[in-house]
């Protein structure tokens, strides 16, 4: 069998090296990156269509360091494959959006491709060692992209980003080392199987004493920083707003999903029982993330910061669904359906938010290019007169973010609330506030930027060129397609989630 997942991970890494040689020839570097991203997209589509049902597919398994229980173990189910697809799409969009790279284009595109490779590796690894390698690997290019190509005072923002994530990573690392001590395995499937049968709890108790909860918290911390869950979010607004906008597309579109993915792939299967025990405080934090994230977006003046906080809010819904589904064991046959729906919603929301947020930041890139770097919300107004197409198309992305039925954003959020209400009506009810505030945020942006009096200096604001329209068209079409036919994705997601839930024990 062709090692498709390995190829998928290697292609961008090799392309990164080639792009490096392009040096200062921007067009060449961008062409290489674009071509590589197209190949990756084709491969990830093949993976996505190859995954049916909830089972792991495309498995590759070799010995790596046997004495440490480390294997080269790859495989994807619906969850992994969807994330691979999303990473490929967002990377392609980010490369397409990077038309004006201030300096060293060869290096810039090499780092973007390396980041893509890191994402692919993270979403396809099934052994902790291997997974952690890519989890950290993706951090390095992200750091340099922010630091070297970011706006003013990008250095401190990049450092804050790196150090925060690193603290989470070390906590994760320590927890998995402890798991290895207790079980002798670093394999996700083995560990989740042991957790489901209760062997894991016995092993941890026997080797290390009553530390299960601490380990669960350490793992949770690692992912809470990455998603981010409030109150671990403070690195995000600075990072998203200082990073070059195409890089922010990757950060919010794909990298933030690594945290949610980690919760679904590692935290719930392995520490489901512990997380279920602290479900109430977690739900409170998730609700806080939803509501406070949205509220913070209201008061921002910088458009990038507005959508940075809006990202926190949108991923808060995923957290809400995941924690609501972590129902302590009991007579729960009736709840089973709701759990599945909530998790389906969470996964779909990951994809939708990735697509939509990347599109919105793409529009911000275009806006930035036209305004000479200015993105203050009050600096614009009435743009729909000089640039009707720009405003119309960006409006589609904005309404998708708002959750308008018919566009992709709606379906995921609907499923999350449908699933979460029976499981935790209180947190779901409060979280509805988040929807309302987000609507207010988006409408405010539309009002301030697109309508109102047109300042003199924007009288000649150039509209989208034909090339830009064509480049944006696929992403926007996808929003409609997924809004109207969510079953394109939902079938496989649902099968995967049913399969996963069947194997978990809370």
């Amino acid at each position: 069998m062709t090692p498709l997942l390995t190829i998928l991970t290697v292609v961008p890494a090799v392309a990164a090296v080639i792009a490096l040689f392009a040096g200062n020839r921007a067009a060449v570097a961008r062409g290489i990156a674009f071509l590589s991203a197209l190949i990756s997209l084709a491969l990830s589509l093949e993976v996505w269509f190859g995954v049916r049902g909830g089972q792991m597919k495309f498995i590759e398994r070799w010995d790596w360091i046997p004495s440490l229980g480390i294997e080269y173990h790859l495989g994807v189910d619906g969850l992994g494959a969807l994330m691979l697809l999303l990473s490929a799409i967002v990377s392609l969009m980010a490369i397409a959006a990077s038309r004006k790279v201030a300096k060293q284009p060869g290096l810039y595109f090499a780092l973007i491709l390396l980041l893509e490779s890191g994402l692919f590796g993270t979403f396809s690894a099934l052994n902790f060692f291997h997974w952690f390698l890519f989890w950290e690997l993706s951090l390095i290019p992200a750091f340099f992209l922010i630091k070297l190509w970011g706006g003013e005072r990008a250095g401190p923002a990049a450092t804050q980003f790196f150090v925060y994530t690193m603290v989470g990573s070390v906590a994760l690392l320590l927890a998995f080392m402890a798991l290895f001590v207790a079980t002798g395995s670093m394999d996700f499937e083995t560990l989740s199987h042991m957790a489901a049968t209760g062997e894991l709890a016995t092993a941890i108790q026997g080797h290390l004493g009553s530390v299960s909860m601490w380990l669960a918290l350490a793992v949770l911390l690692g992912f809470a920083v990455k998603v981010p869950m409030m109150p671990f979010h403070t690195w995000l607004p600075a990072t998203y707003s200082k990073a070059p906008t195409p890089v922010t597309m990757l950060l919010t579109g794909a990298m933030s999903k690594m945290g949610v993915y980690g919760l679904l792939r590692l935290a719930l299967p392995i520490f489901g029982h512990q997380l279920a025990q602290i479900r109430t405080p977690l739900l409170i934090l998730a609700t806080l993330t939803v509501v406070a994230g949205a509220w913070a977006a209201v008061v921002q003046r910088d458009l990038k910061r507005v959508f940075a906080y809006s990202s926190i809010n949108h991923l808060g819904y995923c957290l809400l669904a995941i924690f609501a589904a972590a129902l302590p064991a009991g007579p729960q046959t009736a709840a089973n359906l709701s759990q599945t729906i909530a998790l389906d919603g969470a996964v779909l929301q990951m994809f939708n938010h990735g697509l939509t947020a990347a599109a919105i930041f793409w529009f911000l890139t275009l806006l930035e290019e036209r305004s000479g770097g200015r993105l203050q919300i009050d600096g614009f107004g009435g743009l729909r007169k000089p640039a009707p197409v720009f405003c119309g198309l960006m409006g589609i992305a904005l309404f998708s973010s708002l959750g308008l039925p018919g566009l992709n954003g709606f379906v995921g959020e609907f499923l999350i609330f449908r699933g979460a209400f029976p499981l935790s009506w209180l947190s779901a009810t409060i979280s509805v506030l988040g929807l309302l505030i987000t609507a207010a945020v988006i409408l405010t942006v539309i009002q301030r930027v697109f309508t109102g009096p047109l300042p003199d200096r924007w009288k000649t604001f150039p509209d989208l060129t034909t090339g830009e329209r064509l480049a944006l068209a696929p992403a926007l079409t996808l929003m409609f397609v997924l809004g109207l036919m969510p079953q394109l994705l939902l079938g496989t997601i649902n099968a995967t989630m049913m399969h996963l839930l069947g194997g978990w024990r809370f």
């Binding site: 004495s67 440490l68 401190p156 603290v167 690392l173 290390l208």
Partner: protein
């Protein structure tokens, strides 16, 4: 065959010592050739022995009347460390290639001392007769002193003297312990011997081991930079010329850790047993030294975080990294000791790379190590090679996966989880601080936010420095490539280390845990 690493180095040292002064430009070539031959021998020995157990290297009577033999033997641990020594020697010479450009460099002497030091280090790693080991150990101290005192910088006499005194104090402690053991075994069995295997097989009374173990362990651990006896390390590293810092951190500190494992822990394994009482939760020498190791990890990292001299940052980071080695050894688990040995190798490579970046590539060009001054030089633009090099070396040093340090740290942490979970958690804190100090140094030195424009709007000119030489590039490729190779495929070393650790005396792997 491996014995030729020792002979070659000493022969080279001798040759350089008698080389006419006017041939100062040839000295480095000779030294490089000798070091390359040493590396080739070490590599050949490493490969040909494969995963098998101890390989006999030499065995001749030396002072038969006292039962002292010239016995050399290489098990997996020795072979790995000999390989490290070979790599560090070649890299050290490559990064000292500028010594010999001028007549007053005293290049001949420099490289003679350098090779003598290397020869001593090879000898320690290969000796089975403890008297012989001790002789080599002492041989290594002397050239170290001169390398620092003659070619060093910042307070070199002080640094060299402090290092020598600490080393001699440590060896005195080791010597007392060894001689007592020698006398006890000889008195009881009539068979006077300094052979490691003979001593390890003799059952010393537990009460004897209880005082001999801490004595010998501390003696060696001083050289490994164990807190609170670490203070020689940063000053010594800073004072030393680049090649000497690379060797000092890269292999000499490993001598200490190697001695802890090979001598103290192997001969006196029951010194690690519980005392039978507990004071503040401390119930054995193992906990005491484990605690020292963890304090060293966190303390070294914390102090590195506030240094203003670039070289001190790296110097203290060595203390922190060596703490991980000692912690791994004291876990007394297969995996922890595997990790400790791998960490010795990994740190040897990475410390060399870091000191080369700081001392040779940056300092020799900018003539300052002050973080505040370097901050103003826009080094990421003026010296992109150095900037990227430090990024790579720093990331490897902070334990990012893909580099050798990660695999080693992971194993030490796993072992620590089994042995002392609290220490594992604290060591994790040390790793986070490790990220912070590396980051801080990188930001300050290379990627400063210092404005590139002066107050009146003219851009500050980017300083020009001499280009990176081929020797520097070769050294970087050698060290960084090794770290990456081991990080991605650690089995190259682990398959050799693991059987050797497994073959350590049974009492060691169960000591302290009855």
């Amino acid at each position: 065959m491996l014995a030729y690493t020792i002979y070659l180095s000493f022969a080279g040292a001798l040759l350089l010592a008698v080389l006419p002064k006017r041939l100062h430009a040839v000295a480095r070539v000779i030294a490089l050739l000798v070091a390359l031959c040493g590396l080739a021998v070490a590599l050949a020995g490493f490969i040909s022995a494969g995963t098998q157990g101890p390989v006999a290297v030499a065995n001749l009577p030396w002072i038969p009347a006292m039962g002292i033999h010239y016995t050399l033997e290489a098990d997996g641990i020795s072979r790995v460390l000999v390989l490290l020594t070979g790599l560090a020697a070649v890299a050290g010479i490559l990064f000292s290639w500028n010594i010999g450009d001028k007549t007053d460099d005293r290049a001949n002497e420099f490289f003679a001392f350098f090779l003598a030091l290397i020869g001593g280090v090879y000898g320690v790693f290969l000796s089975v007769d403890l008297f012989l080991l001790f002789v080599f150990y002492e041989i290594a101290i002397v050239p170290k002193y001169f390398l620092i005192a003659i070619w060093g910088s910042t307070r070199r006499e002080y640094g060299a003297m402090k290092l020598a005194l600490y080393s001699f104090a440590g060896s005195a402690m080791v010597l007392i312990g060894l001689l007592t053991a020698y006398a006890v075994v000889g008195g009881q069995t009539g068979n006077y011997s300094m052979n490691l295997h003979t001593l390890a097989q003799y059952h010393f009374s537990t009460s004897f081991q209880m005082w001999a173990f801490p004595l010998v362990f501390t003696g060696f651990a001083i050289l490994a930079g164990m807190w609170p006896f670490h203070t020689w390390a940063p000053t010594g590293h800073v004072a030393a010329p680049t090649a000497a810092s690379m060797l000092l951190a890269g292999v000499v500190m490993k001598l200490g850790a190697y001695g802890c494992l090979r001598v103290a822990m192997t001969v006196f394994p029951h010194g690690l047993d519980p005392w039978g009482f507990s004071f503040l939760g401390i119930d054995s020498w193992r906990t005491v030294f484990g605690l020292f190791a963890v304090i060293g990890i966190v303390y070294g990292a914390t102090v590195a975080l506030v240094q203003n001299d670039f070289k001190f940052v790296i110097g203290y980071s060595s203390v922190s990294h060596m703490g991980l080695v000692l912690l791994g050894l004291l876990t007394l688990t297969q995996i922890g000791i595997d990790g400790a040995v791998l960490q010795m190798f990994s740190h040897g490579i990475l410390a060399g790379l870091l000191f080369a970046t700081v001392g040779r590539i940056v300092y020799e060009r900018t003539h300052t190590r002050d973080l505040a001054l370097l901050n103003k030089l826009q080094l990421s633009k003026a010296m992109p090679f150095a900037a990227w090099l430090f990024v790579i070396a720093g990331m490897a040093s902070m334990g990012l996966p893909g580099f050798s340090g990660f695999v080693a740290e992971v194993q030490v942490l796993i072992g620590a989880w089994e042995a002392f979970p609290w220490f594992a958690a604290i060591a994790g804190l040390g790793i986070v601080i490790g990220v912070a100090y590396t980051w801080r140094a990188m930001q300050r030195v290379f990627f400063s936010d210092h404005p590139a424009v002066t107050a009146d709007g003219t851009p500050v000119p980017i300083p020009e420095y001499e280009p990176v030489t081929w020797a520097e590039k070769a050294g970087v490729i050698l060290l960084a490539g090794t770290s990456l190779l081991i990080g991605v495929y650690p089995r190259l070393l682990l398959d050799v280390i693991a059987p050797a650790v497994q073959a350590l005396p049974h009492a060691l792997l169960t000591g302290g845990r009855q």
